[in-house]
């Protein structure tokens, strides 16, 4: 079942004093971290439900997922004052199981970014090193879990937005099969690529939350509940020459491969010929869908409005200019362009064909291996305002994670220890509805490494240099 701290988490709800103590602890720690945009443990207290294993477990929710009674800022000035009148289906299911939603976490604006520094509202720091980013776009969720504020947090993953921050913070990050968790209530960025997922320090809690949330939802006609298959994993594929890795990540990758070998898995080198085209295809499709998904934000029905505008067009144009940050505008413009008549064929349609090619690659690869290992991101958590990795280069770095989004397959980021004092994480991919395979391997890998928290590591001065043992 859960780690030993499950007992602690469930005990918080036992009394008013414990709740207040918990709230005070969170507020104090979060002053340093900035994970929560809105923290209010009293707003959605669950009714006690004896015998329900998730009852009373506090969970944070990324602020692009609707929870009634909380705001739904999406990290943007456009929506910073909008209260959500409804709750996302996935969150509803958790609440029905007695989960305690305690607050909303920071993110890159509308999910666009790999650092959370694109948030228009506040900055989030990596609990392992507050001069560094927590990753993005679900940086707030990853930081909240790593800082010990909650045992799990919901995020969203469009091109790696759960897995990369999870690896930056040394936690698990699950991006489930596309459509297995309802997207109703997830503010859309790239509809055909994204989904709600989980960041946690506990593999069993991750699995439990996943099982509770997955369903076919009548509000989401792309949601699909298929029986997960439980093929045991024997062979794990690895990319022969992943390019552009930092020496630290490269070391961690090689080490992990050896460790998996020692655990009894057969390792096989595989090729994904389409890999080099993943990023242009991914960003073409994502921006195109984003340009349409964000068109509704125009200051008419809700959200930021330029009240000085004198005609409807000026109203919409200026409200959008004022409400959106630079990265969002860039992707909207890019997305609008690649759909334009005369350009759609060479960009958008071509990108969708590359997607087909990638899915074929995976079909072939999974004939000879049961799961596929890759680094999550070419580098570890980078400093805020790093000049080494501008927004363009950050996009290129999504190539390992975005692959799973283009193909719709599940992927799980897991911690593999530390390099140069910072967490290192890898990701494992499986065929559609193959989450069981991911849990199985990561479970076994716990013999080698399990997540630890900075505060616990800090109490052992040399902990960051060594790998943790259970």
């Amino acid at each position: 079942m859960f780690r030993s701290t499950e007992k602690y988490w469930k005990s918080v709800l036992e009394s008013q004093e414990k709740i207040e103590k918990y709230a005070a602890d969170v507020r104090q720690i979060d002053r340093r971290i900035g994970a929560f945009i809105e923290f209010d443990p009293h707003r959605a207290l669950p009714a006690p439900a004896e015998g329900n294993p998730l009852n009373g477990i506090p969970v944070a929710v990324k602020d692009n997922i609707a929870v009634e009674g909380f705001r739904l800022s999406c990290g943007s000035k456009m929506l910073s004052e909008v209260a959500s009148p409804y709750t996302a289906t996935a969150v509803q299911k958790l609440q029905e199981a007695g989960v305690w939603i305690v607050g909303k976490t920071n993110l890159d604006e509308f999910g666009m970014g790999s650092s959370t520094d694109n948030s228009a509202l506040q900055r989030t720091h990596n609990p392992w090193d507050t001069s560094r980013v927590a990753g993005g776009s679900s940086g707030g969720s990853a930081a909240a879990v790593a800082a010990g504020l909650v045992p799990a947090a919901l995020g969203s993953d469009t091109g790696g937005s759960i897995r990369q921050p999870a690896s930056f913070c040394g936690m698990y990050g699950l991006k489930p099969t596309y459509g297995s968790i309802s997207r109703f209530g997830l503010v859309a960025y790239a509809s055909s690529l994204e989904g709600i997922g989980i960041i946690s320090d506990s593999l069993s809690l991750t699995r439990s939350l996943f099982e509770t949330m997955r369903a076919e939802d009548r509000h989401d006609q792309t949601s699909l509940l298929l029986q997960g298959e439980s093929t045991p994993v024997r062979t794990i594929g690895v990319l022969s020459h992943p390019e552009g890795l930092s020496p630290a990540v490269d070391r961690a990758y090689r080490r992990t491969i050896d460790e998996l070998k020692n655990l009894g898995y057969t390792i096989k080198e595989v090729e994904l010929p389409t890999l080099d085209y993943v990023i242009p295809a991914y960003y073409t499709i994502a921006s195109a869908e984003a340009s349409a998904n964000l068109a509704r934000y125009a200051g008419v029905r809700y959200g930021h409005q330029n009240s000085l505008a004198e005609d409807p067009q000026e109203l919409m144009e200026t409200s959008r200019d004022q409400g959106f940050g630079a990265e969002v505008k860039l992707r909207i413009l890019l997305g609008t362009y690649v759909l334009r008549s005369g350009f759609q064929e060479q960009y958008y349609i071509r990108a969708q064909k590359i997607r087909t090619a990638l899915r074929r690659d995976f079909e072939e690869v999974f004939q000879s291996v049961d799961a596929l290992l890759s680094p999550t991101f070419p580098v570890q958590a980078f400093p805020h305002d790093s000049s080494d990795l501008d927004q363009f280069q950050q996009k290129l770095a999504d190539r390992f994670t975005a692959t799973a989004n283009l193909a719709g397959i599940p992927a799980l980021a897991f911690p593999v220890g530390f390099e140069e004092g910072l967490p290192a994480g890898m990701q494992l991919m499986a065929p559609m509805h193959g989450e069981e395979r991911l849990f199985e391997v990561c479970q076994k890998y716990q013999e080698v490494c399990t997540p630890i928290h900075p505060d616990r590591a800090a109490s052992r001065p040399h902990a960051k240099e060594e790998r943790s043992t259970p």
Binding site: A83, P85, Y86, Y178, G179, S192, L193, Q221, T222, L224, D276, Y277, P280, A281, Y283, T284, S291, A295, A298, G299, V300, R301, Y302, G303, Q305, S307, A309, E310, D311, P312, Q313, E314, L315, M316, E317, T318, R320, D321, A326, K329, L330, I332, L333, L334, T336, Y337, R340, Q346, Y347, R350, A351, Q352, K353, I354, R355, T356, A357, R359, F392, G408
Partner: protein, 96 residues
């Protein structure tokens, strides 16, 4: 991408841009589009585009107002978020 193309695109996206913004965005969009050009290197002409991630199942909703469906009973709280209202109408300036 020249600034004229950018302004046409911005107009389609209903985004007003300052001159500084336009210059910067023009460069950044061009950079991305140049990078996208590499998609021409791979031969995908014989493939069908993936338009839907899953598309095998027909999904339909019954034409019945669900009992207890909260979403259809929150008109007032939706209007609370409107920037300007008059007698339940949402108000915007008129084209003159």
């Amino acid at each position: 991408m020249d600034t004229r193309e950018l302004y046409t695109t911005a107009s389609l996206a209903q985004l007003s841009l300052t001159e500084t913004e336009a210059e910067k965005l023009s460069r950044e969009v061009s950079r991305m589009l140049d990078y996208f050009a590499r998609m021409r290197e791979i031969d995908v002409d014989s493939l069908e585009p993936t338009t839907h991630t899953f598309s095998k199942v027909n999904r339909l909703r019954k034409d019945v107002k669900e009992n207890g469906e909260r979403l259809s009973h929150m008109a007032d709280s939706l209007l609370d978020n409107a920037p300007e209202l008059e007698d339940r109408f949402i108000v915007i300036p008129n084209v003159l």
